[in-house]
């Protein structure tokens, strides 16, 4: 993945509203502590962050820095220790398990690193699964467009086992998009893919943001992947240490190198962060 396939022109055509669009999700003073006493781990340490509608955010950081935890907490998959998470106008803490489930069903999309699809369903059935679960009819025009973008052609009735990893992950992306969720969380969606398949998936995500104003938050370890985003957040030790707009692979790489060298320096940047 030496040369990103997407042209700068895509990046240039970011929706102008990006900077002052409303927040799709906001975390305030988010704390997540695992374990107790000796084994206590602060996976998230007073994180405050907002994700604007129509924005593609990448989250980066060393292993164990709390990236997945942040996503899980934002998506209501994990309970937070303190602070607050709001999706649109809903405070997650006010919802019980069923409420959270319905929230995920109706307003969120997910893409995981691996094992995204039900092996027994066809690609198309996997895509419409969240809609089926919600008992919602898909907007046919929207669905057609999503499917079009997946670009599986006549392989829509194939089972996941008959698809390549990249194809499978694109199906997973399409599934996340099918229900027109307010925000999509993707945890290392290209982590298991070769560069070619990874590019397919990233192009797909980028296009959905650019063309349809989708909001996406994506965890990645790959600078090139991060460069597809509008903004990159850097996490270290459960804190946000940097926030980079209009990233390029080189800038991202450089930033990461910096942080490997001088871990202490990074904390200083926190106060300067915009919410």
């Amino acid at each position: 993945m030496s040369t990103p396939r997407h042209s700068r022109s895509v990046a240039d055509s970011r929706p102008p509203s990006g900077q002052d669009a409303p927040y799709a999700a906001i975390a305030a003073n988010l704390m997540k502590v695992y374990g107790e006493g000796e084994t206590e781990v602060r996976a998230l340490d007073d994180v405050s962050v907002g994700f604007r509608s129509g924005e593609f955010t990448a989250i980066m950081g060393p292993s164990g820095s709390g990236k997945s935890t942040l996503m899980h907490c934002m998506a209501g998959l994990d309970k937070i220790s303190s602070g607050s998470v709001r999706l649109g106008d809903i405070e997650l803490a006010s919802l019980d398990d069923t409420g959270l489930t319905h929230l995920r069903r109706d307003r969120l999309g997910f893409i995981f690193q691996a094992f995204n699809l039900l092996p027994t369903l066809t690609a198309l059935e996997n895509i419409t699964l969240p809609l089926d679960i919600a008992g919602r009819r898909a907007d046919p025009a929207w669905l057609d467009m999503v499917i079009e973008t997946v670009g599986l052609g006549n392989r829509l009735d194939h089972r996941p086992a008959q698809l390549s990893g990249g194809q499978q992950q694109r199906v997973a992306c399409a599934r996340a998009l099918a229900g027109r969720p307010e925000i999509i969380f993707a945890d290392e969606p290209t982590g298991n893919l070769d560069s070619h398949s990874g590019t397919e998936v990233l192009n797909f995500l980028r296009a959905s943001v650019t063309e349809n104003g989708q909001t996406i938050v994506m965890v990645t370890h790959d600078a090139v992947a991060a460069s597809y985003a509008d903004r990159v957040l850097f996490l270290a030790d459960g804190r946000i240490v940097d926030d980079m707009a209009a990233p390029t692979p080189d800038r991202v790489l450089e930033r990461m190198r910096a942080f490997n060298r001088k871990p202490d320096e990074t904390t200083a940047a926190v106060s300067a962060l915009p919410l």
């Binding site: 069923t98 489930t101 039900l118």
Partner: protein, 844 residues
């Protein structure tokens, strides 16, 4: 390698425990049957031996004589001759028969089938050593009785009370002169013992002056065999002399035989339970092996041989088997004890005695537990050994789609083979048991074929159910259906376990319902009498004078006794029925295909089947050898068909009676003038002295009793088969739990994208419903085929037997299968719904 096995046992302990449970139940069943049998055998043998303890030699009627209603003259002169023999210390004469005590409410005390009367045999000191008097004395003359304490207490009788007793004839008024304790088997088995003076007992049970049995004691220095040899030449025809040891050995043999047949019957059901259990084992090991493909391949990759892999998994099976065997053994003992308690509670009054647990029972339990587990695990384990080492290196293993072709061919061939055997059985020349076994064997082989083919049937069947369920629950229905269809082998094996029980339940229900209806129909068609009188104690005949009494009741227009005996013609035995020629054909509806009943008073009537077999026609003169050995030429006057109450031959009472010693009527049929019908029951009851030992029933009530009998038997069979069903349910639970475990990540993902807990549970429940309805439907369908086929097969030799399908029951079975499905899903569904989404997603 041993270490991996042990680790696995620990890692999969819940699952293996669940699996072991399937075998535990089967083994427990076996152990319970063995313990129950041993216990009962010991108690019954003990009781029988107690009855005959101390006897050096015994003279009694031969088995042949008893069966042929003959009583050899074991009389006082014979007793005198025996006493005179050198070596004989003492001779006592004994008479026993059916006698029951009537309580103050007019009901019989204790269990009718062991209500016994016997003569008191006082020694020189005036005491009978077998009984210890707690009050009063032994009966000495007519009208006096002594009662065992248990009976006396139950009825509230004491010395001096006037009481009523019943034997075969009218009710007798007696005075209680004594109460005694006894360890007699009859009393221990819940019956009663009434002691009478010898003359009265002889009159009641045999004939004046005749004993049923003579017991001898030897003088010191005379062996039992010497005594027997000395006695033998004096023994009259129809009697035999035995040593005390032979007598007691006979007792033992008799008990052994009874227990053995009970045990065999119960073990058949235990076998069915084990067979069903073996499916669960095979299925679990198949699932475990599939789950561990990667791990086993890794073992192979780092150098383990196939044999080592096989051995390590077989070792796990062995451990499961050992645990199952031991647990089954222990639970079985408990079951046996509990069963005895339950049976005693419902009035079975089993002979008391200590619970007997033998080493053999323990060994059998272990052997069965281990054997079944190893056998069932063998195929899946072999598959484990075949996993190539490279499987470890493939990350994304495609689901095992190994072809079902070979299996389907094998199944089809098996079914064809079974069909051939079945046809050979039905059409072939074999008769009797051989025929039954061939037919049953054929049906069994077909069933095995179907079991082999279930994966093939499973796919379309599951799809059909899925389509139905999707109409109600579009999403959950589809997910459930696709899970069930994912692994046809697994679904099939799980459903097959349930199917086996269902096949048996359904086919036996069809068979028994058809038979029940046949009996009901023949009884209602064959008897034109309104009332039937019979002994309320099973197998007891009525004294002949009762027929005469009943005939005198105003309004009774005809009464015929029905008396059964055995005669032989040309060396072949036949059942002969003796009836009163004057009235028989007004109380029995009989169709004659040739001739008629006119010649009955001095002639012979034969059934069509016998006539056909023997090539007899009206006018043929037949030489009938009666039980007493006399041969009489009797001309055939008529050939009858469809006469359910009549045996192969029919004669008049007057023709038969002179040739038998034990004269009694199996039942009486009474026709009643219409205007008398209303009060007739009371009139008849009054005529027989309101004896509680005599049943006065309308023919409708008799039919109802028969129906009840069928229902009881069927219910017992249901009870025995329920174990197989319970095990099958365990199988469903196991399969679901496994598939929930395997699909942890899928479930996590579904939950993440918005499937709530309730609907997650529903997915599992629907999957369970699909599996159990598939097993239930297939079982019911096959059961119907087998039941109808079996009934039709039997209809060839049993006229008038028509197939009756109890659709209401069939529907109940299907509903039960559905309920079973829902219940079986409860735990796995809860587990699935409880999974933490994030943990589930992280599982690999």
């Amino acid at each position: 390698m041993l270490r991996t096995s042990l680790r696995n046992l620990v890692a999969y302990k819940v699952r293996l425990a669940l699996t072991a449970l399937a075998v535990v139940f089967g083994v427990a069943f076996v152990a319970a049957v063995l313990v129950f049998g041993d216990t009962l055998k010991a108690a019954m043998t003990d009781a029988a031996l107690r009855e005959h303890r101390g006897i050096a030699a015994d003279v009694r009627a031969t088995k042949y004589a008893v069966e042929h209603l003959q009583t050899p003259p074991l009389d006082e002169p014979l007793v005198g001759k025996l006493r005179a023999l050198p070596g004989v210390a003492s001779v006592t004469g004994h008479v026993t028969g059916f006698t029951a005590v009537v309580d103050r409410n007019g009901k019989l005390v204790g269990k009718k089938s062991s209500a016994t009367g016997a003569n008191a045999v006082p020694g020189r000191d005036g005491k009978d050593p077998r009984y210890t008097l707690t009050a009063g004395r032994l009966p000495a003359k007519a009208g006096e009785v002594a009662l065992d304490t248990k009976t006396a207490k139950a009825a509230g009788y004491k010395v001096g009370d006037r009481i009523r007793i019943v034997a075969r004839g009218p009710v007798l008024d007696q005075t209680v002169v004594g109460v005694f304790t006894t360890d007699s088997a009859a009393v221990e088995a819940g019956g009663s013992l009434t002691l009478l003076d010898t003359a009265t007992a002889q009159e009641l049970y045999l004939e004046p002056g005749v004993y049923g049995e003579l017991r001898l004691n030897a003088r010191p220095g005379t062996t039992q065999e010497q005594l027997r040899a000395a006695v033998a030449p004096l023994v009259p025809k129809g009697a035999e002399a035995l040593t005390g040891d032979t007598l007691r050995q006979d007792d033992r043999n008799k008990v052994n035989k009874e227990i053995a047949s009970l045990r065999t019957l119960l073990l058949v059901f235990a076998g069915i339970a084990l067979f069903v259990g073996s499916f669960i084992i095979a299925n679990t090991f198949a699932m475990l092996v599939a789950q561990r493909t990667r791990e086993l391949a890794l073992l192979r990759a780092i150098g383990a041989t196939r044999k080592q892999v096989t051995r390590s998994v077989m070792f796990e099976a062995l451990a499961v088997g050992v645990v199952a065997g031991l647990a089954g053994f222990v639970i079985g003992i408990g079951l046996a004890v509990g069963l005895r308690g339950i049976l005693n509670n419902v009035g079975a009054d089993l002979t008391p005695g200590p619970t007997i647990v033998t080493t053999a029972t323990a060994l059998w339990s272990l052997t069965v537990g281990i054997g079944v587990t190893l056998l069932a695990a063998w195929l899946p384990v072999r598959r484990a050994a075949k996993i190539p080492p490279v499987a470890a290196l493939r990350t994304n293993l495609p689901p095992s789609t190994s072809s079902l072709r070979r299996r389907n061919i094998a199944g089809a061939v098996t079914m064809l083979l079974g069909g051939a055997v079945l046809l050979a059985g039905i059409k072939g020349s074999a008769t009797g048991n051989a025929k039954v076994f061939t037919v049953m064997g054929g049906a069994g082989i077909i069933l095995v074929g179907v079991i082999v083919l279930t994966p093939l049937i499973a796919t379309p069947a599951v799809r059909a159910f899925g389509a139905l369920l999707q109409r109600v629950y579009p999403v959950e229905g589809r997910l459930a259906y696709q899970n069930a269809a994912r692994n046809p082998r697994r679904t099939a094996a799980t459903a097959a376990a349930l199917m086996i029980g269902m096949v048996l339940v359904t086919s036996l229900t069809v068979f028994s319902t058809s038979l029940k209806q046949l009996v009901d129909r023949t009884l209602s068609k064959g008897i034109t009498a309104e009332f039937v009188l019979s002994s309320s104690a099973e197998g007891q005949a009525l004294a002949p004078e009762i027929a005469a009494t009943v005939a005198k009741v105003p309004g009774v227009t005809a009464v015929s006794p029905v008396r059964e005996a055995r005669v032989s013609v040309d060396g072949k035995e036949h059942n002969v029925t003796a009836v009163d020629p004057a009235s028989a054909f007004s109380v029995l509806a009989t169709t004659f295909t040739q001739g008629g009943p006119q010649s009955l008073p001095t002639g012979l009537l034969v059934s069509k089947q016998t006539a056909d077999d023997r090539k007899w026609r009206v006018g043929t003169s037949v030489a009938v050898t009666f039980p007493d050995g006399q041969r009489v030429q009797l001309p055939i006057g008529g050939i009858y068909d469809q006469a359910p109450m009549l045996g192969a031959l029919t004669v008049s009472l007057r023709t038969l009676t002179p040739h038998i010693d034990v004269v009694g009527d199996d039942f009486l049929l009474a026709k009643v003038a219409p205007q008398y019908k209303d009060g007739m029951r009371d009139a008849l009851r009054k005529a027989v002295g309101n004896s509680p030992a005599i049943n006065v029933q309308t023919s409708k009530e008799v039919r109802k009793d028969f129906n009840k009998l069928f229902d009881i038997m069927l219910n017992i069979v249901y009870g025995l088969l329920s174990m197989a069903i319970v095990i099958a349910v365990l199988g469903v639970v196991n399969t679901l739990a496994m598939s929930v475990f395997e699909r942890t990540r899928e479930i996590g993902m579904m939950r993440a994208i918005g499937l709530d807990r309730r609907r997650t549970r529903r997915v599992i429940r629907l999957e369970s419903l699909i599996i159990s309805l598939f097993g239930g439907l297939l079982g019911v369908a096959l059961g119907l085929i087998a039941g109808v086929g079996g009934t039709k097969g039997m209809a060839r030799s049993t006229r008038d037997l028509t197939v009756v399908i109890p659709w209401d029951r069939v529907l109940i079975f299907l509903i039960l299968a559905a309920i079973v499905g829902v219940l079986a899903a409860a735990w796995p569904a809860r587990r699935a719904a409880k999974l933490d989404v994030l943990t589930a997603l992280r599982t690999d």
